[in-house]
Amino acid sequence: MSDAIKDLLAGPVKVVNIGLEGFEAELSAQDVEVVQVDWSPPAGGDPKLADLLSKLGA
């Protein structure tokens, strides 16, 4: 098992929430450490370009 997975299962879970804000609220209410990303569609909303940029590490 890799270190990243071992670390996840050992807990505590520390979450970066990208999307539905309800999840962030529910995790915060359980005292889980969570940071909400103020997300909006990248690459001007072009999914293909967003995919390419993520591959390039942008």
Binding site: M1, S2, D3, A4, I5, K6, D7, L8, L9, A10, G11, P12, V13, K14, V15, V16, N17, I18, G19, L20, E21, G22, F23, E26, L27, Q30, V32, E33, V34, V35, Q36, V37, D38, W39, S40, P41, P42, A43, G44, G45, D46, P47, A50, D51, L53, S54, K55, G57
Partner: protein, 490 residues
């Protein structure tokens, strides 16, 4: 003639739950036939076109733009609805004024949260893989709640994650419990030594909750997404999860819940369980009996899977006395896909003819004779609409029609609680039954998937249902058996 009005807001993003809530408010206005507020992604353009909500003006919206579509009985009504939609979008609460600072990127978020180990991703499916790729390359594991993700992209992402040693749960992963933390649609269950892996959300929920109700506990419940065990993906996340739980000192036994995997994938999964060496229980919903390694046991229902994991013999409660009916037909109205599948298996194995929009092996599709088991959370019912577990009003029409039918013996349904779910699904169902208000209706049989630790509280939900004359079985499998009893086949 209907009037369709579109407006495009360039570079304006809101999450899909917020947009669906607004869409429903606008669609409920007098004279409005249909309304939707959606991001202008290719998938959403299709949904809007199918719903006859797309005019030329809307076709210019891109994936980063908000698209408003309104179909109304007259131009003035459409304009009034558009004004209302605009007002909702511009309300200070919607724009998040006054909220704490939020980073704009994953990179900045990781900087703010040292030791972050999981990205929970629920952006539109067209963008989900790109976000997950960024997360795994920054050292995080990823849980992808989003659906509408291309299966080839899923397979490529998971192959990269395997190389990097990161776990990808999903896409379309609704449920997980990691190190005691419920994520997305999950329940509050005690920690214990049973580790679970599930390709289905409500399957994991039902088994974790039954284990909890009978004194057991969960080390982790790892969701892998509904397509992980298909040949195209090859079970990458399931195999990684088996390896992780086999090595996890807090896990003594492993439970795996999924639809029947592709042949080679099933073989690889069983081999991995054998190599892992811990006692394991598999439930491939609808599958026939399989040849198994010595440490693996196969169960055919979620209920029996939970009891096998606990090392106990399942108990079967006697059905309550129910109003006699001349009819012999059962209608299933489910929010949970795997709960619908389990009901099909139990009715099928009792020799009944069953049909479903989401059929398991040996069940016919919707047309024809037999008890109809409907998965109302299936894509056909939820494209562009909230899931019935979040918003039970989406199954109102189905219930209202069913309650009025005199040719039905029983309505079989589920009530799913926990994080992510509606605040009071039992209360909602009771209100529908009360509004119907006659005693000539079919009997209503249900179960509550959840625990007393959940925000809604299982005991309180059960009390509400029973007070309204609804029969509440201890599990979904028992509810299906009670429905058989209602038609004299139990």
């Amino acid at each position: 003639m209907a009037h369709v009005l579109n407006e495009v807001r360039r570079g304006f993003y809101l999450d899909s739950v917020a947009l669906m809530r607004m869409s429903r408010a606008i669609a409920g206005m007098d004279g409005v036939e249909e309304a939707a507020l959606m991001m202008g992604t290719p998938a959403n353009h299709e949904i809007m076109a199918d719903a006859r909500l797309l005019a030329d003006a809307g076709k210019t919206a891109g994936g980063g733009d908000l698209l408003i579509g309104i179909r109304a009985t007259s131009q003035p009504v459409a304009e009034a609805a558009l004004a209302e939609a605009t007002a909702l979008l511009d309300a200070p609460a919607t724009r998040g004024d006054g909220a704490a600072y939020r980073p704009k990127s994953l990179r900045a978020a990781v900087g703010m949260l040292p030791g972050a180990n999981l990205a929970l991703i629920s952006v539109p499916g067209d963008f989900a893989v790109a976000e997950a790729r960024k997360a795994i390359r920054r050292g995080l594991n990823a849980m992808i709640f989003s659906d509408n993700v291309d299966i080839e992209a899923e397979a490529a992402l998971k192959a990269e994650a395997r190389e990097l040693g990161r776990l990808v749960m999903g896409p379309d992963c609704g449920t997980a419990i990691i190190a005691g933390t419920p994520l997305a649609f999950a329940n509050v269950v005690p920690r214990g030594s049973i580790g679970m892996i599930g390709a289905s959300g409500t399957g994991l929920q039902e088994v974790t909750c039954l284990v909890a109700q009978h004194g057991g506990g969960i080390s982790h419940a790892i969701g892998v997404g509904g397509r992980d065990l298909k040949a195209e993906v090859g079970g990458i996340s399931t195999l990684m999860a088996i390896e992780a739980l086999a090595a996890d000192p807090g896990t003594d036994s492993i439970v795996l819940i999924a639809k029947p995997p592709a042949g080679d994938v099933a073989k690889a999964v069983l081999e991995a369980l054998e190599i892992g060496g811990k006692p394991a229980v598999i439930c491939f919903m609808g599958a026939a009996e399989m040849e198994l390694p010595e440490n693996v046991r196969q169960c055919f229902s979620l209920k029996n899977t939970a009891f096998a994991a606990l090392g106990e013999k399942p108990t079967t409660p006697a059905p309550p006395s129910m109003q006699a009916s001349d009819s012999e037909e059962i209608l299933g109205l489910f929010a949970g896909g795997t709960l619908c599948a389990e009901a099909q298996v139990i009715l099928r194995d009792a020799g009944q003819t069953v049909r479903s929009n989401a059929p398991v092996t040996g069940i016919s599709t919707q047309d024809g004779d037999g008890h109809l088991m409907l998965d109302l959370g299936d894509d056909d019912y939820t494209r562009g609409r909230p899931h019935p577990m979040i918003d039970p009003t989406v199954r109102n029409d189905a219930f209202i029609d069913a309650l009025a039918r005199t040719d039905l013996a029983a309505i079989l349904c589920d009530v799913v609680i926990g994080y992510g779910a509606h605040g009071d699904p039992a209360g909602h169902l009771v209100a529908l039954v009360s509004a119907h208000g006659t005693d000539t209706s079919p009997v209503l049989i249900t179960s509550v998937c959840g625990t007393d630790g959940d925000p809604q509280g299982r005991a309180g939900q059960i009390a509400k249902l029973e007070e309204a004359g609804i029969h509440v079985a201890p599990s979904n499998a028992d509810a299906a058996k009670w429905a058989l009893a209602a038609i004299g086949a139990g």
